[in-house]
């Protein structure tokens, strides 16, 4: 059972909402994590065109007209997936497999509305800075400073996907740059030199070259560049020197260690 929805909320019909197929109200999208591509600024900008397999999100429902409920319990309105095969979790749902699947809004045991969505696999990882600008293949970090890199899943078959896929990251050389962060990649320059940070999202990886320069040096010019091409994600495993314990077992330490490896959020079945 997913989120209880507030009846008569003012957000109906605008923003990250999609009208239900029975026309009784709107399904409202809520960000699942910081890696959700439709939530680049911390809130859902629109209802996504599709959901990414492995992505996390929340769905609420707002009635357009409370009279549709007749005599039922109007305070007990909730959303559930039609099948647990396609969505797992409770409040925060996870898209488990590709296909087309339905959300169902209930009042008591009665179905009030339905919404079908497509679930697609991500085929690329897009890296952006905190301002939302694409990041190129290289980022310059001043010694002792930390930059934040955000990672979002993309799909060539979906214009605006939704669902935050958990990420992990690791540094090729923890003596030069270490990584941390939970649903973003925080890169800290430890000593001058160059290291490669590998961001992993599901089966894909995205390398990012980190150049650590002396403290006080200009890092603006090399920080972002020509990031329009989202491709470059590698399928399969990379060969970084760190162990990369991203087995998907579900721990969520979210902290950097001295080896330069950061384990992100949980994967798989959700809550």
């Amino acid at each position: 059972m997913a989120l209880l929805a507030a009846i008569g909320c003012s957000s109906s019909g605008s923003g990250p909402s999609a009208v239900g197929e029975l026309g009784n109200g709107t399904f409202d999208y809520r960000c699942g994590s910081g890696t959700d591509p439709v939530c680049a600024f911390g809130f859902a900008e629109a209802f996504p065109d599709c959901l990414l397999e492995g992505g996390r999100f929340q769905i609420e429902y707002t009635l357009r007209d409370v009279d549709v409920l007749d005599d039922w319990d109007r305070d007990f309105l909730y959303v559930e997936p039609a099948s647990p095969t396609y969505f797992g979790g409770l409040d925060t749902l996870t898209a488990l497999r590709t296909g087309r699947a339905a959300f169902v809004a209930y009042a008591d045991e009665n179905v009030v509305d339905i919404l079908h969505v497509d679930i697609v696999a991500h085929d690329a990882i897009r890296l952006r800075d905190d301002a939302g600008s694409p990041i190129g293949a290289e980022v310059t970090v001043a010694l002792g400073e930390t930059v934040n890199v955000r990672a979002y899943g993309e799909s060539a078959t979906c214009g605006m996907p939704g669902g935050g896929i958990p990420i992990t990251s690791e540094s090729s050389d923890g003596t030069i740059a270490v990584v941390g962060g939970f649903d973003s990649v925080q890169v800290t320059g430890v000593s001058e030199g160059t290291a490669t940070v590998t961001v992993r999202m599901g089966a894909l990886t995205q390398p990012l070259s980190i150049v650590v320069v002396p403290a006080g040096a200009d890092t603006e010019s090399a920080g972002t560049s020509s990031g329009d091409d989202p491709s470059g994600s590698d399928s399969g495993s990379d060969s970084g020197s760190d162990s990369g314990s991203d087995s998907g077992s579900g721990d969520s330490s979210g902290t950097a260690d001295t080896s330069g490896t950061s384990e992100g959020s949980t994967t798989g079945m959700g809550d």
Partner: protein
Amino acid sequence: MARLHIVASIVATLVTTVMGCQPSYGGLEIRYLNGTGQFSDDGLVITEGQALAVVVTPVSKARYEDYEKFDLVTLRASDPTVLVVSPSTDVDRFVFLGVGVGRTAIDVTINGEDVDTLAAEVRAQTGGGE
């Protein structure tokens, strides 16, 4: 004696007439509201993970005697791990949910009386979506 016979005949005629007023179940008329699914003589076929909203109207075999709005139809799937039938926003509206791949049956009752059993199948999705 003749008078008694006449009365008995009248009573028998009335009983017959009253019995004849009852609709005789002849099937269900199903109108789709949304979604994809398929009803046929073989039953319902729906896709796993998807939902199909319908309006269900019982059809009477008895001539001139149709079911009324207050005749309450209920549908219930035998195996809820395969198919769930949920009531919707009106008494004649139902939503079929393809929960898991498999076959099951849908029990149909009208006014609490079992009148039919429909076959139902939930099929796996093919490709990346449907």
